[in-house]
């Protein structure tokens, strides 16, 4: 039986079913908190626990799916390229905004990790949590973090940003669509971008642009911060 569970087809099939269920449940309920990824992960965790299947057996198939994360990050170039005109026209505010966002995100996380007395591995796991998952996990791994914790923090942050976006816009009293879009993208990557698209076309485009740019800037900043962990 365990040989069959360790077949890669088991993990891949199980993941497809859980993901499909997650997408269905989110559509049915329409709630951000029923995020399809959260639902899919919760279902899989439940199945593994109930049937006492080791994560390692599931991950034999899972690793095949995981292999696509890197190439998927490469494809973000296509979405940046599609907004190249918008970027060229506003390159200075866009770069200034993304850089300020990344520095604030990483700086505040580093400071709070120190305040809470978290160890180096936990700090490295949380440090890149404002950027998109494939980039955040790669940075976390490179600097000795725990990838699963990074993914959890990235998801919580994304959902927070999505829910809080209208409140944040009022709190900081900034109406400029360019600033709002970049702000949402910088603090809550793709999950926030979904909300930015609802708010407006420019907001959505800017938020999408911030995902890739903040990812690159965070990677560069992580090089410098590696020594602080």
């Amino acid at each position: 039986m365990s040989a069959l569970l360790e077949s890669p087809f088991f993990g891949v099939t199980l993941t497809v079913i859980a993901y499909w269920a997650g997408v269905k449940i989110q559509r049915r309920t329409g709630l951000v908190i029923c995020n399809y990824m959260l639902v899919a992960v919760a279902l899989l965790v439940a199945v593994l626990l109930v049937f006492d299947i080791p994560y390692e057996a599931y991950y034999v198939g899972g690793s095949f799916i995981n292999m696509f994360l890197g190439p998927a990050t490469a494809c973000m170039a296509v979405s940046i390229y599609a907004k190249l005109e918008l970027l060229k026209k506003n390159w200075l505010p866009v770069l200034a905004g993304c850089t300020a966002g990344v520095l604030t995100s990483m700086g505040s996380i580093l400071l709070m990790c120190r305040l809470f007395g978290l160890d180096a591995a936990m700090t490295a796991s949380l440090l890149p949590k404002s950027v998109t998952t494939p980039i955040a996990t790669a940075i976390s791994q490179d600097h000795g973090g725990m990838v699963a914790i990074t993914v959890a923090a990235v998801m919580v942050t994304g959902i927070l940003g999505n829910l809080a976006a209208p409140f944040l816009i009022r709190l900081f009293r900034i109406r400029d669509p360019l600033a709002v879009g970049l702000g949402i993208g910088a603090c809550s990557h793709a999950v926030g971008t979904a909300k930015a698209m609802e708010i407006g076309e420019t907001e959505g485009a800017m938020s999408g642009l911030a995902i890739g740019l903040c990812g690159i800037i965070t990677t560069v900043c992580a090089l410098g911060m590696g020594g602080l962990l």
Partner: protein, 122 residues
Amino acid sequence: MKILLQIGVVFGVYWVSQCIEAVLPFPFPASVISLMVLLVLLIAGVVKVDHVREKSDFLLGNLGFFFVPVSVGIINYAGIIWENAAAFLTICVVSTVLTYGATAGAVRLTRRLLEKRGGGAS
């Protein structure tokens, strides 16, 4: 055949990026290198969007799916997160608010400065 070629282009770019990652003297993830390599190739016109469109739509449209297996790994870390739940949530909430404010504020400031300079020149 079209899709197969697109897979070839995207995977090829990624493999080249892995080679670059291997020779770099500092830790820089291949995924971010591949993003920059593909962007440069698109801007230079070496790769056209049509060469990667369907493959990229497939990967980006189902991005969440590809994270699922690694996220399930949380099963092995539940204890650590539970122990640090308060810190974990505080850090997520505070940094999200600050990051939004800093980004939006910096964009507004930069645009105002540009407008002032533009206004002064004309």
